[in-house]
């Protein structure tokens, strides 16, 4: 729109108006998160308000990976140079704000308005490119500290009311700061006032923190109406369409991916500084502003995905610790005939506070497990998460179970499925983002689940799925993506190779298992014939020894059988799982590619619109020009949005794949240890058997 002339110093493509808004929201979210968790430690009395606000216990939030946020921003600021620039910016912001607050109490009112403004002001600033020349770096830390304090203390004041808040926060600032800082502050306070007109940056910055705070407040106020469950917010928002719900993608990002924390912080400030030039103008309108304004629709994330290095991502990964133990037990046939189904007991044992109790058990049927997967993939697959696939439906196996009574093969089938379901659930909850999903919790906790639909009629659903897969395959072929990212380029290749290798290994393990079974069978036959030989032997000692030997061979047969089962469950199933998981990984890559395609399509469209505009200009048709311009800005917005989405999904996929790789190595290691233990056990048993037999052999006279 027409605001491009008012752009603040950092010049940038003016196509990001929706993001701006949403960005601020982002920041706000981050702050709420931070403040709530921090408050607890800082001032116990302040914990009250948020508790009231959220229906769910606040511990939910602490248990979240989010709690890492507390420490991270500071660290990051020190490490990353663009971050530090922001930090400087940050510094100036709150202080300026303070000055404003102190000198002119009316500011309180304009503040809410500010929130609304961004909607009208198309401004874009890319992080790290808005260096502030205002304050010196030594103050940096301090400033952050201040900011933090500010943030921490804000929500409680926020709950009181807007007028009180402002002064409250102002006081806080004065209280918290040390002598030196106060001096600095004093300086800063004055500076912006003087420099308002001359130096855009500092003046620009005046007010923004308030903006943030009010947003925080307003969010705090608004959210309870929108949603009752804070965890809900965090987990679900990613799925909801960005345009319809406030703070959706923003909060999901802060929630799941703390690596973006730094970003959010800086964004918030940068963007705030943009708002500020308008501050003066808008002061007059301030009174009209409503507090609820920030809740207005917000577009998707504007943040540039963090360019974190892989090392950093990996580092974060290792911090995840889950104290969550899920077991699937007691498979039970429910009902009769072809309508029968298997129900499983899903027991959870946890110390995570997000759950209502430490141990709980629910009964679930197989289709519930599938339903969970459907729900999760519907919500999360477009974000680039690797969603562990459940075991496949097996008509043959299940029919056997339904028809047959006590068939060993059907017992094996049930046990195999039980184990597969257990691993499936364990994989889901070990995913930090999926664990937060309300559906997962519901699945684990809720007594009765609505019957999963669409999974029962395998024929119909399966057919649809096949169709989908076919169309996917076609679209995959048509999309020619020239991969820019080396990491992805290599990884996609790796994953494909790996899948091939795992398939090969799987075949080998299968043959190994079959040979073992064969060996067990042959040993049994041998044992039998030895027993016969023993029974028709004249020499009593020899006869005795032979029948003993037959017993030993019988036991060895059992050992082989157990070992075959071990081979099967530790390796064959593990490999089968990972072949399916790698399929899911490839699905993520496909999602990313789709996002890229969307972006490219939008880019092309924008190009077309621009050409159209140029034609109109040339043809001198001013009546249509405005419409063309509108369209251009609309598509510009879309391009940015899609680009961001693509970058976000890239980051998520990368993070998830790294997590997956680690998990895989850990998983394999665990299984190998388990396998070795079983081998060792077998061998020890064998030693026992032989040792018992040796005297028998020696006793032959």
């Amino acid at each position: 729109m027409a605001a491009s002339s008012e752009r603040s110093p950092p010049p940038f493509p003016d196509s990001e108006e929706p993001e701006l808004l949403e960005d601020s929201d982002d920041g706000a979210d981050a702050f709420t998160g931070t403040s709530i968790s921090e408050m607890d430690s800082l001032s116990p009395d302040t914990t009250g308000p948020p508790k009231d606000i959220f229906n769910e216990p606040p511990e939910d939030i602490f248990s979240d990976p989010l709690s890492d946020i507390n420490s991270e921003p500071q660290k990051n600021v020190k490490i990353q140079s663009p971050g530090s620039d922001e930090a400087v910016d940050l510094l100036s912001d709150p202080l300026d704000d303070e000055a404003d607050v102190i000198s002119s109490p009316e500011v309180q009112n304009p503040v809410p308005d500010l929130l609304k403004e961004p909607v009208e002001t198309p401004k874009s600033v890319v992080i790290g490119k808005a260096p502030s020349d205002v304050s010196s770096k030594p103050v940096l830390k301090n400033a952050i500290g201040v900011r933090h304090q500010d943030i921490f203390e804000d929500p409680p004041t926020g709950s009181k009311g807007s007028a009180a808040k402002k002064s409250g926060s102002a006081e806080l600032f004065e209280d918290e700061d040390d002598d030196d800082d106060e001096e600095e502050e004093e300086d800063l306070f004055k500076e912006p006032l003087k420099g308002m007109t001359k130096k855009p940056q500092p003046s620009v910055a005046s007010g923004p923190p308030i903006n943030v705070f009010t947003e925080v407040k307003s969010e705090v106020k608004v959210k309870p109406h929108v949603k009752d469950d804070p965890t809900d917010l965090f987990a679900e928002e990613a799925v909801t369409a960005p345009a319809t719900k406030p703070s959706s993608s923003g909060s999901s990002r802060t929630n799941g991916v703390h690596s973006e924390e730094q970003d959010i912080f800086s964004e918030a400030t940068v963007e705030l500084s943009l708002d500020s030039p308008l501050n003066d103008r808008k002061k007059k309108d301030a009174l009209k502003a409503s507090v609820s304004a920030p809740a207005a629709p917000v577009a998707s994330s504007s943040s540039k995905p963090p360019s974190k290095t892989l090392e950093e991502l990996e580092e974060e990964e290792s911090e995840d610790k889950f104290d969550l133990n899920i077991s699937v037990t007691n498979p039970e046939k429910v009902g009769d005939g072809m309508n029968a189904y298997m129900a499983y007991k899903v027991s959870t044992q946890t110390s995570l506070t997000m759950f209502r109790s430490k141990t709980f058990t629910v009964r679930r049927r197989f289709s519930d497990f599938l339903g969970l997967y459907e729900k999760l993939s519907e919500k999360h697959s477009q974000n680039g998460y690797i969603i562990p696939p459940p075991p496949e439906k097996s008509i043959l196996g299940m029919t056997k179970v339904k028809v047959g009574k006590e068939d060993p093969s059907s017992a094996e089938f049930v046990e195999r499925r039980r184990a597969a379901l257990e691993r499936y659930l364990q994989r889901i909850v070990s995913h930090p983002s999926l664990l937060q999903d309300p559906d997962v919790r519901e699945f684990l906790e809720k007594e009765e689940l609505p019957r999963a639909v669409g999974t029962q009629a395998l024929s119909g659903a399966g057919f649809l799925k096949m169709l989908n897969k076919a169309t996917d395959a076609v679209s995959k072929m048509t999309i020619k993506m020239n991969e820019q990212d080396v990491w992805f380029d290599e990884k996609i290749q790796d994953v494909e190779n790996e899948e091939q290798q795992l398939r090969k290994l799987h075949v080998m393990v299968e043959s190994l298992v079959n040979h073992r079974k064969e060996l067990s069978g042959n040993t049994a036959v041998f044992a039998k014939s030895v027993a016969m030989l023993g029974s028709s032997e004249d020499n009593t000692a020899l006869s005795r020894a032979l029948s003993q030997l037959a017993e030993v061979e019988d036991r060895i047969e059992q050992l082989h059988q157990d070992q075959a089962a071990n081979d099967f469950f530790t390796f064959s199933e593990l490999l089968a799982d990972y072949i399916r998981l790698l399929g899911a990984v490839r699905g993520c890559f496909d999602q990313r590619m789709k996002a890229w395609q969307r972006w490219q399509d939008a880019e092309n469209m924008l190009q077309k619109k621009r050409e159209a505009e140029a034609k109109l200009l040339w043809a001198n048709k001013p009546d249509k020009l405005q419409q063309a311009k509108d369209e251009i800005s609309e598509w510009e917005a879309k391009v940015t949005q899609f680009e961001r989405e693509f970058e976000r999904i890239s980051a998520t996929v990368q993070k998830d794949v790294i997590r997956f790789d680690k998990e895989k190595a850990r998983d394999f290691k665990r299984q190998i240890i388990k396998y070795l233990e079983s081998l060792l056990h077998s061998e020890q048993q064998l030693i026992k058997y032989w040792e018992a037999f040796l005297p028998e052999a020696k006793a032959i006279a």
Partner: protein
């Protein structure tokens, strides 16, 4: 029996007979047989092909001047080995059983060695001149193929059907025959089953080998996680390799001890069966002679009675030799089986212990793996 004069027939010590080497030239296997001279420390080494063994066996069968020869349980000579051609594996397995398995005909050599020792330690057979020349003469004795003896398997097979079920006059032999038929069948089955087990073990070892090799293909050094995963794969590869070696050892233990033992047992049972059959044939002959004597006219009666007496004498001689042989056979057989079982058990025990040790080392290594 011609006592001291024949005593010196064998000039080497029976216990020292060994087959030390084997050379394969196309289809022909040549065995190096060493033995120790009696009364001197000098060793003898001769080279013999399978045909020479056959010649020896024929010479043993067709000895003259040995009363009751037909009552002797001849040590069984392993069937002829055909050096492996690609499609001969299954056929060889059918013919030779255990002797076809194992590396470089080791089992086969062991079986031949055992055969020679058995012949050399046999109280009657060791006096045979052919044995001495077989063991000592550097020139191959068996150039002239031994004529097909009366013990030809082919002709036997035809008669067997008819005479096998002939009722014996002596309860001892009747029992022995029944038992022998029973055990011969059972031991044969047991041997076959053990072959299956060993074959499966070898297949497993092979499968483990493939598995372990293809685990090496999963190695990828791209990033930290991949390196960790690669380490895990390599470790697993080592473990599977250990499993493979364990299977190989177990299989070879089965083969070299119990396998050979059972094989020998079943072949010896066959040998006993042949001996009993020869005796039965004699018995039938005697009975026909008796009948014809009864029917004979007076003028021929005397000749017939004379003849009947001779046959009776021969039969009783065979029976007494057979009784001795059977006793000898039973005690030696129990002894052999005992040694086989003990040896087998000890070997398996050792293998299991070694393996357990190896596994626990691997386990330790695994637990420490990249926990650092």
């Amino acid at each position: 029996m011609e006592g001291s004069s024949a005593e010196s027939a064998l000039s080497v010590s029976a216990d020292s007979i060994r087959i030390t080497d084997l050379t394969q030239d196309g289809d022909v296997l040549t065995f190096a047989i060493t033995s120790q001279k009696l009364n001197s420390s000098a060793g003898v080494c001769v080279f013999r092909a399978y045909e020479d063994f056959e010649w020896l066996q024929q010479s043993l069968f067709s000895q003259e001047n040995v009363p009751g020869l037909q009552g002797i349980i001849f040590p069984p000579l392993p069937p002829k080995a055909l050096p492996l051609q690609s499609n001969m594996q299954t056929k060889a397995l059918k013919q030779l059983g255990f002797l076809a398995l194992g590396q470089d005909w080791q089992g086969y050599c062991k079986a031949l060695e055992f055969y020679l020792q058995q012949v050399a330690t046999h109280p009657t057979l060791c006096k045979c001149k052919a044995l001495d020349s077989f063991l000592i003469n550097s020139e191959s004795p068996g150039k002239q193929r031994g004529r097909k003896g009366i013990f030809n398997r082919l002709s036997q097979a035809v008669e067997e059907m008819r005479k096998e079920s002939h009722k014996d006059v002596d309860n001892f032999f009747q029992n022995e025959r029944n038992k022998n038929t029973n055990i011969a069948a059972l031991s044969k089955v047991a041997t076959e089953k053990l072959i299956d087990v060993v074959m499966t073990e070898q297949k497993l070892a092979l499968a483990c080998g493939h598995f372990s090799t293809s685990l090496h293909l999963c190695v990828n050094q791209d990033d930290a996680a991949a390196v960790a995963f690669s380490k895990v794969c390599l470790k697993l590869s080592d473990i599977i390799e250990a499993v493979k070696q364990n299977f190989e050892k177990v299989a070879s233990n089965n083969l070299t001890t119990l396998g050979l033992g059972l094989d020998l047992e079943s072949r010896y049972q066959e040998a006993e069966k042949e001996m009993l059959f020869r005796r039965t044939c004699k018995l039938i002959e005697l009975e026909t002679v008796k009948k014809s004597t009864e029917k004979a006219k007076a003028n021929k009666r005397e000749v017939m009675e004379e003849f009947q007496k001779a046959v009776e004498k021969e039969f009783s001689l065979i029976s007494s030799v057979a009784k001795e042989e059977i006793e000898r056979f039973h005690s030696s057989r129990v002894n052999v089986l005992k040694n086989v079982l003990i040896g087998w058990c000890e070997q398996q025990l050792n293998t299991a212990k070694e393996c357990a040790e190896l596994y626990s080392q691997h386990l330790e290594a695994c637990r420490n793996m990249y926990s650092e």
